[in-house]
């Protein structure tokens, strides 16, 4: 038999098998369970089709024909060797909040520390620069945030009408803030994961900005206002950004220094901690956004500064207690 004739008869004989495999694969995609008999049949047809694909490659180079069988085999491979895991994890909020999130933050403390140092170094630099030369504020703070006379601004805010005077404004502003901040944390994560240094730099620059703005208020003698204004939400928002960036640094480090297990495996190992760190960050940002949209905006007439600063302190203690202090567990036998 000549090669093309052999090919023709081969395809004719096998076509039915490939169609049957496609039908079973369609069923597997639609239904959660195929049942033992159909599953065994699927495995059998997949193995036979693998053998067909190898045989076909010796008979032809026809891209359409090979492509078609290759696609069926690829689908079969994907279906049969898929990860044995629950696709939809059970909603175990208590376990997520009190075990997985804090444990991951503590386990990844080196990256959290590296990220926190970026923020603190940046803040120290920005603060020192503006305190030593207040004119530097114009260069360090973006025009939208640059305030020439914080004292006048504080006086206007504290004597004028309340910025947030209705539940509607508070909830809408809070929702806008946490939506925006979560996206910023995603950017910090991705920059760190993709480039390592740029992720760290982003946090550092945020620190510079924070320090410079704080110094502007401190120099004008209205530092207490700044503390009361930023403190209640800042104690959650800043750690959230630090934690998101730490997740990126964790992944970026696996790319740069994968160790003996190799880069692909090292990166895969970071998927779980990165996901938990991001989840922690998102949760903190939602809380921070709600606080920033309402409580932080209230003037001293409504909530005096000491109360706001005390609230910031309580939140900070709560955060450290949640993420920093290991809990005793009664492990089962």
């Amino acid at each position: 038999m000549t090669a093309p004739a052999e090919l023709e008869s081969f395809v004719e004989r096998r076509d039915e098998r490939w169609r049957a495999l496609e039908t079973l694969l369609d069923g597997a995609e639609r239904e959660a369970e195929l049942g033992p008999e159909r599953l065994m049949e699927l495995v059998r047809l997949y193995r036979l089709s693998c053998s067909d694909l190898n045989r076909l490659r010796t008979l032809t180079a026809n891209p359409d024909l090979l492509g078609r069988v290759n696609r069926v085999v690829a689908r079969g491979y994907r279906t049969i060797y898929q990860h044995r895991m629950r696709r939809w994890p059970r909603l175990e909020l208590k376990q997520w909040m009190f075990r997985d999130m804090p444990d991951t933050v503590r386990r990844e403390w080196r990256f959290v520390l590296a990220s926190a140092l970026a923020l603190l170094l940046g803040a120290a630099l920005g603060f020192t620069a503006v305190v030593s030369n207040p004119d530097d504020a114009a260069g360090l703070v973006p025009p939208g945030l640059y305030v020439e006379h914080p004292r006048e601004r504080v006086a206007a805010l504290e004597s004028g009408p309340e910025r947030i005077d209705s539940a509607e404004k508070a909830t809408s502003f809070g929702a806008f803030l946490y939506s925006h901040n979560i996206q910023v944390s995603f950017v910090a994560f991705t920059l760190g994961a993709a480039t390592l240094f740029l992720g760290w730099l982003l946090v550092f620059l945020n620190g510079v900005l924070l320090g410079a703005v704080a110094a502007q208020y401190a120099v004008e003698g209205v530092g207490t206002f700044f503390l009361a204004w930023v403190g209640p939400h800042g104690v959650l928002e800043l750690p959230a950004i630090v934690i998101a960036a730490a997740a990126g640094l964790r992944m970026g480090w696996a790319v740069v220094a994968p160790g003996e297990i190799g880069r692909p495996a090292a990166i895969r190992e970071t998927f779980t901690p990165a996901a938990w760190l991001l989840a922690t960050s998102v949760l903190l940002l939602v809380l921070a956004g709600i606080i920033e949209g309402s409580f932080s905006q209230f003037s001293a007439r409504l909530v005096p500064y000491p109360w706001k600063i005390a609230a910031a302190g309580v939140l900070a203690i709560g955060l450290v207690g949640w993420l920093g202090v290991p809990r005793r567990r009664s492990d089962g036998p």
């Binding site: 995609e29 509607e168 929702a175 995603f186 996901a275």
Partner: protein, 246 residues
């Protein structure tokens, strides 16, 4: 810009499976469809939000749209085996770098990376994918995933073939003659000769192409004597199979 490169996966059955990375045009179209769907969903949510008390309507709508945008990708990808609505329509699928279904963590990481991939106006993701031979955006690189074509039938040997600038045999008349005078065996022969030519000794290759060229010149009445036998065979293979074959 770098050419697309197939990914070869070796299955436990000792068969090589080729994964064909999706082109940027199709991916862009799928993205637009998905964004249009999300936009429509947000419009619907905003309309429904008007029914809520004013004190929470704005917050609920903003949050719901935010959740819809960020949850859409992982929910669809996990529910429909790596396909969103747009990808289903365009025959695309996200798979793990090893050709397996992507898992929840991978889906979350490639979704989170969209925040950077989409900035500015998708530029980061577009240029990253353009420079990567497997057309992976930043999110795909981080999550070790790949968007593959499910409909295309191109085999990797074909994708590796180069492009010829001008094929004088690609004419309507020649297409008609090929359709009437060349059977499946002839077409198969043309392709096989082209793909195996690289492994032949030079003399044997010349003789084979000249003999085959002479045969097809006679069958298809090709009277352009500037074409060598090899040029005739390759030109015809290209017309028959849609791409130039080197």
């Amino acid at each position: 810009m770098s050419g697309r490169q197939s990914v070869l996966v070796h299955s436990p059955e000792h068969v090589e499976i080729a994964l064909e990375p999706a082109g940027l045009g199709r991916r862009g179209a799928a993205l637009l469809l998905d964004i249009a769907l999300i936009g429509a969903g947000c419009g619907l949510l905003a309309t429904m939000g008007r029914l809520l008390p004013a004190s929470i309507a704005g917050a609920v709508t903003t949050t719901a749209c935010f959740v819809l945008f960020w949850a859409y990708w992982p929910v669809c990808e996990l529910r429909w085996g790596g396909r969103t609505f747009g990808k289903q329509l365009l025959g695309l699928r996200v798979v793990d770098g090893r050709g397996l279904p992507l898992d929840g963590r991978q889906s979350v990481i490639r979704t989170v990376a969209r925040a950077l991939d989409m900035a500015p106006l998708g530029g980061v993701g577009f240029f990253t994918a353009l420079l990567d031979r497997r057309r992976r955006r930043l999110g795909d690189l981080l999550a070790d995933t790949l968007v593959v074509e499910e409909r295309a039938g191109r085999y990797l040997a074909f994708a590796a073939a180069g492009e010829r600038r001008y094929n004088s045999l690609r004419t309507p008349r020649m297409r008609r003659l090929i359709a009437h005078r060349l059977g499946a065996e002839d077409r198969e022969f043309l392709l096989a000769v082209c793909l195996r030519a690289g492994a032949m000794a030079e003399g044997a290759r010349h003789d084979l192409f000249e003999a085959a060229g002479a045969h097809f010149r006679a069958v298809l009445e090709i009277d352009d004597d500037r074409l060598t036998g090899e040029a005739v065979v390759r030109g015809l293979a290209s017309v028959c199979h849609g791409r130039d074959v080197d």
